[in-house]
Symmetry: C2
């Protein structure tokens, strides 16, 4: 498969004083910078734009390669010439969320009013706030209506929120491995991750930017996360009870390969992620709730189309949650297709089940684009 | 239901120098004290003894009330006059495991050689070491053969280990919600718990007995545990998305009831449990492996009977692991009954599904006891 090649992250700044972004909490935030990348070209009619939304630890770099980098963006398998999000046909935009730490304004950004990083003085943001900021970017790019909004996990929440917040500005949505709201189990996993970060004395109530970072706490949070992203079966297939050495150490070192994997993933994560962002983003997910008919407003765009994807072995965002999305759409008479992909990868499947996803998404987008073009 | 009434923990000390207990690691441990309780009376033939084995955070106090205490022992619902383990008929013994912190010798015990708590100089112990120590207690009580060994979770591992280590000294076994070995997912959850403890600077490589204890780290470990003990459904039934206050706080406080529950459970646990014991015990569970025909030795006791219990919603010790126990027994021609109890409580079900368990266990023990008595 071909790649979009070398790409560069771009930045868009808005919500300058006194036009700060009004947040769901009642607080304001500004100025706001959004880091984003685009792939492919916007057509004359500006009718081929697809917004890709990332998950908890994702960023704007979804496809192609940064200058000199070995690894491509996080969804490179699905974005590029001839791929599911075909950059020969579509203009793909991927923004980093506000509250994050990968170029967009978040708790680790410098507050222009104080000249210091926000830390916990950064206001709590919600999924709807993230989407509100993205709407500014879409306006800035001159796009009236997005052909599609797509994302997995928290990216799926943003896709759903786009429909709820801006139904007239979205032609279709592809929420993958996501939910209308977090269950208490999902909240519980997030809360334990937050507690792990906040239990680290280096966290220091969020003031650590000029000191030691709460790396141990954040690593523990990430390790918990990784267990929930895989399935019992995929862990069995990948690690079984394989040992790192020939025998048990009879010490508190890494005996099992799965332990080494978790430690490696935890240690790696802290190098690229801000602990406060972890708190803000998980809280935004926990607050998210589009159940009880909040997804589709009554004056909805009647030609809105949905492709709802779930994965059989995903126990973090179980298929019943995607079925509930589909059910709510059907009740409102919305054109929605629900597919449950047979995968053993667990929640990670949305990043790994490339072939199956490509098939479904490509077909869905083609049909949406054809319909959209004819309708115009 | 009647209670066994007021009970007292007893203590048995053995493995005095130079007769230390030889451990699986090759190291030795001694002297060893086992805290234990007994309920009911041993009959003349010493044929009515049942050994109850506890799980990770359990202790010797399985039934009745300590002087002045409001809460009964951890399995009081199943142990007492007329209950599943009927103390009018049976003599019930419950020892605290070695490595623990509830009266038996563990890392928080004083090492007589140094006059200081062992800390990490305590040798790593295995489930088979725990059982080896229990065998000394059973010998001390003059019991040649146990009518049954019973336990849930890690208690079930010990029950299985009794069969593997001392097949001629066990008449029957009731392993509940347990496994022949931990899967990589189970190891992963344990490892993250250990990492949470060890990430706490107060842990100080296990030397904290005369200083601040690693309470925050241990609380995080316990919170992770609690999520795995419940099911998605039981959390939904118990908490749903109920809030503590009327609205979201838009702060990092406890918004959801499930968060409050986890914090409460975590904070409560650290008051009664030693962080080092948490490390030692989880490691013992991870090392445990009676798969590949290690459960039933070839020269097995031919009249050994098994009742294997699992719970449908238990995703920490999924039913397939209990089915694997039953399968291994059937292959060896052992008299084994497997029952999967329809419960929504998750792993906690072994403590909560009293009625169903009582019915199955009572009947099984009656039959075992009758057969045993006739055979003699």
């Amino acid at each position: 498969m071909k790649s979009v090649g070398t790409v560069k992250t771009e930045y868009f700044t808005f919500a300058q004083s006194p036009n700060e972004l009004k947040l769901e909490s009642g607080q304001s935030l500004g100025p706001i910078t959004l880091a984003y990348e685009t792939y492919g070209a916007l057509n004359q009619e500006k009718s081929n734009a697809i917004l890709v939304l990332h998950a908890l630890s994702g960023d704007a770099h979804a496809a192609g390669f940064h200058e000199g980098a070995e690894d491509p963006g996080w969804w490179d398998d699905l974005i590029g010439p001839g791929k599911a999000l075909d950059t020969l046909k579509y203009f793909v935009i991927c923004p980093n969320i506000i509250g994050g730490c990968r170029g967009s304004t978040g708790p680790s950004s410098v507050n222009p009013k104080t000249g210091k990083p926000y830390g916990l003085s950064f206001p709590l943001i919600t999924i709807s706030d993230m989407v509100k900021a993205q709407k500014h970017l879409i306006d800035h790019l001159g796009i009236k209506k997005l052909l599609s909004v797509i994302g997995g996990s928290m990216g799926g929440m943003q896709a759903l929120q786009w429909v709820a917040s801006y139904p007239k500005h979205v032609q279709s949505a592809i929420p993958i491995a996501t939910a209308l709201k977090h269950s208490p189990q999902q909240i519980a996993f997030d809360e334990v991750g937050r507690q792990a970060v906040m239990a680290d004395p280096a966290w220091n109530n969020g003031n650590y930017y000029d000191a030691t970072k709460p790396e141990r706490g954040l690593a523990v949070a990430r390790m918990i996360g990784h267990i929930t992203y895989m399935s019992d079966k995929s862990m069995e297939e990948k690690f079984s009870r394989k040992l790192k050495a020939k025998n048990f150490s009879f010490e508190f070192t890494t005996d099992f390969e799965v332990e080494g994997y978790l430690r490696y993933r935890g240690d790696n994560f802290v190098k690229r992620f801000d602990a406060n962002s972890y708190l803000y983003i998980t809280k935004a997910m926990d607050y998210f709730d589009l159940s009880a008919d909040k997804l589709i407003p009554k004056e909805r765009n009647s030609d809105l189309r949905f492709l709802v994807l779930a994965f059989k072995s995903d126990w973090l965002y179980p298929a019943y949650q995607s079925q509930e999305i589909a059910r709510q759409l059907k009740v409102r008479g919305v054109d929605a297709t629900y597919c449950e992909i047979n995968s053993t990868y667990g929640h990670d499947a949305f990043l790994l089940e490339v072939e199956e996803e490509t098939h479904l998404i490509k077909h869905f987008l083609d049909k949406t684009f054809r319909g959209y073009t004819i309708a115009r």
